[in-house]
């Protein structure tokens, strides 16, 4: 496996605390055209009310407030219709049961999670929990591990017994010193969890690569990350669906980035602290500077698939012709060759070839960019 360490050269800094932005003025919940709506315009909804279901999979309101209608928003880089809810800032919760000491069977757990729209694949006898952020400058998973260590370890332990897991690994970066220290101190209480320290090479946090590095059979392996564990914790202990999302917001146009806990459906522009940066020439890049995508629509919202937001200044890089160095191919984690198309069907779109190319050619992704 090639070992590429990404040079973190950009002027990007990050605060060590998590900031919560849980009171947006409006949230926008996207829905598909075939969704079955449960609410009407001007209707009052509580936090946790079902807004619509799509093939019987319900979607819940993350805030309490008034439904003010529908509009178009950019959700995961696709333009979609969304229900707009005006926040009343009262966080009126639909009464939910709490199950602090309830013990679940495997079937009960799967039913509970799917009822709360947490659709994880829980088939297999080996469990891998990923605590490594996918890309450089992303710190959400590291922060979650650090701030919710006990809940996460408890939940993993519970999952091991409910799902009858034979082997469980918790993977974290070996240079994530805070977490390494904390976990080494606490892991002794959880003998069934094996802590694995992973080298900080890109893209070592990719699901496929982790499973390959651990020499496991993909079909028999359950793969979750620490945020999934946090969500499962909320589901089984508080009977809560996903209301919030942890994201890293940073970039060379922001003085200091940080990890935010934000409501799903919040408009991205509403969470940018310093709006003055948006007067300059900027790019909003979602999910990483290597494998992410740029959004141009101002109505983009936070969804459960967003890990990070980068506000970066324009960087026009001159492209040259290919020099046949082969770095794109020999460093490819799946042994693909973006120039000849060899093994391209296995491409995981990590962007490593684009990063390494000394001619600065965009080999994978939008070549017109």
């Amino acid at each position: 496996m090639p070992k590429v360490k990404i040079e973190e050269t950009e002027n990007i800094r990050l605060s060590k605390t998590i900031k919560e932005i849980l009171n947006p003025d409006y949230v926008y919940i996207p829905f598909n055209s075939n969704a079955n709506l449960h609410i009407k315009s001007n209707e009052y909804v509580k936090k946790g009310s079902i807004l619509f279901d799509d093939n019987k999979i319900p979607t819940y309101s993350p805030i309490s407030g008034k439904v003010i209608g529908s509009c178009k928003v950019l959700s995961d880089n696709k333009l979609k219709d969304a229900i707009a809810i005006e926040n009343d800032f009262e966080e009126k919760n639909l009464k939910r049961k709490t199950y602090k000491n309830k013990s679940y069977t495997k079937e009960e757990l799967i039913n509970k999670l799917s009822e709360l729209n947490l659709n994880y694949n829980l088939k297999g006898n080996t469990l891998i929990i990923n605590g490594i952020d996918y890309e450089p400058y992303e710190y959400s998973l590291s922060h979650i591990t650090k701030n919710y260590t006990e809940s996460i370890l408890d939940t993993i332990d519970e999952l091991i017994s409910i799902l009858n897991i034979k082997k469980c690994y918790l993977a974290i970066k070996n240079d994530d010193t805070d977490n390494v220290q904390t976990l080494i101190n606490q892991i002794g209480t959880y003998p069934s969890i094996n802590l694995r320290l992973i080298d900080n090479y890109y893209p070592n946090a990719n699901k496929q690569i982790i499973i390959k590095n651990f020499k496991l059979d993909e079909k028999n392996t359950i793969y979750l990350n620490v945020e999934d564990i946090y969500n499962i914790y909320n589901a089984i202990k508080k009977d809560e669906p996903i209301y919030d999302k942890f994201i890293t917001i940073t970039g060379n146009l922001l003085n200091k980035g940080r990890v935010l806990k934000v409501k799903l459906g919040t408009r991205i522009l509403d969470i940018i602290d310093n709006n003055s940066v948006l007067n300059s020439n900027y790019h909003i890049i979602i999910n990483g500077l290597l494998s992410g995508y740029e959004i141009k629509n101002k109505n983009a919202i936070i969804t459960s698939n967003i890990r990070s937001i980068f506000i970066c200044k324009d960087n026009k890089i001159e492209q040259n012709s290919c020099i046949n160095c082969g770095l794109c191919h020999i460093n490819c984690p799946v042994n693909a060759d973006p120039r000849t198309g060899y093994n391209l069907n296995k491409c995981i779109k990590c962007g490593l070839c684009n990063y390494l190319c000394p001619s600065k050619i965009q080999l994978i992704g939008d070549k017109n960019e």
């Binding site: 990404i6 040079e7 050269t9 950009e10 450089p136 790019h283 890049i285 500077l289 290597l290 494998s291 992410g292 995508y293 740029e294 980068f310 970066c312 960087n315 890089i317 001159e318 040259n320 020099i323 046949n324 160095c325 082969g326 770095l327 191919h329 020999i330 460093n331 060759d337 000849t340 060899y342 779109k349 962007g351 684009n354 990063y355 390494l356 190319c357 000394p358 001619s359 600065k360 965009q362 994978i364 992704g365 939008d366 960019e369």
Partner: protein
């Protein structure tokens, strides 16, 4: 994904600079061996003193001018050092003999580099090809030799240490084996350098040569055979040239083995052209090698 915003620091300019830095000590040692030493021994005039540097500068300028002309013809805004042609000129100057006619070197280098740049098909290693043409024509024009005036006037008995400090014969900047090894180390720490090529080419050539010398009872001359005629220099600086060498893992090994074997075969007939010939033959096959390796 649609765009990779983050890019590695390496670019063509920095790669050029790194190769130039690795080459720089060899330029100095070449200047000492083929200029300063002859001047100190009163074998050459001031012109002779600076002749090795003159070759280097002319080679570099040929590459720069070719780039300028190409950019004018194609109306391109490419910067002169965003391309390897100046380096190609310098490498050609490094492998030819100090006795080469300067006019022949200048015209051949300029014309062949220009044609190669305009054709832009990257099928053949242009450094090896141009050097080979210059050596070949020099040979036709008179007695070709890699020995400089000092070496011609003195009969030297060399031991292994002598080769390390450049007393063997070869191209202008190719004989200091110790410096060459340091250059190889400097280049090898960079991820873009195809370090497998000099490694496997040398192993193949040395293995073939060892068997041959054992068979012919001449094993005592092995160092003389390996360290002269610019073979190691060609393997380190010319064979891994980006555009005309293989880039796949297996491809680089096959490409290197071809170089080593062909070098050995040609070495039996005419040693000064052996490494260059091996590189030319392998470069002609580099695309097919990579294609076969990706099947």
């Amino acid at each position: 994904m649609n765009k990779t915003y983050l890019k590695a620091k390496d670019n063509i300019k920095s790669i050029n600079l790194n190769i130039f830095i690795a080459l720089l000590p060899l330029l100095f040692t070449g200047f000492y061996k083929n200029g300063l030493k002859l001047y100190i021994n009163n074998l050459v005039s001031v012109y002779g003193l600076f002749k090795p540097l003159l070759f280097d500068i002319i080679g570099l300028l040929c590459g720069i001018i070719v780039n300028i002309i190409y950019n004018r013809i194609k109306k391109s805004n490419n910067k002169v050092f965003n391309d390897f042609y100046p380096l190609y000129g310098l490498l050609i100057a490094s492998v030819i003999s100090i006795n080469t006619n300067i006019a022949l070197f200048t015209t051949s280098t300029f014309i062949l580099l220009l044609i190669s740049k305009l054709l832009n098909n990257n099928k053949i290693n242009i450094i090896a090809f141009t050097s080979l043409i210059i050596i070949f024509i020099s040979n036709l024009l008179g007695q070709f030799t890699y020995l400089n005036l000092y070496e011609q006037k003195n009969t030297l008995t060399l031991n292994s240490l002598d080769y390390l400090i450049g007393r063997g014969s070869g191209g202008i900047n190719t004989t200091y084996i110790l410096v060459l090894i340091i250059s190889l180390i400097v280049l090898s720490v960079n991820r873009y350098y195809k370090k497998e090529i000099p490694l496997y080419s040398s192993i193949t050539f040395i293995s073939c040569l060892t068997f041959y010398l054992i068979f012919t009872n001449k094993i005592g001359t092995i160092l003389d055979n390996i360290f002269t005629n610019g073979i190691l220099f060609s393997y380190i600086f010319i064979a891994p040239e980006f555009l005309t060498s293989s880039y796949t893992k297996k491809g680089k090994i096959i490409y290197s083995i071809i170089i080593g074997v062909v070098t050995f075969i040609l070495y039996l007939f005419y040693p000064p052209l052996s490494a260059l010939g091996g590189i030319i033959i392998a470069s002609l096959c580099h695309r097919i090698i990579d294609k076969l390796c990706q099947r």
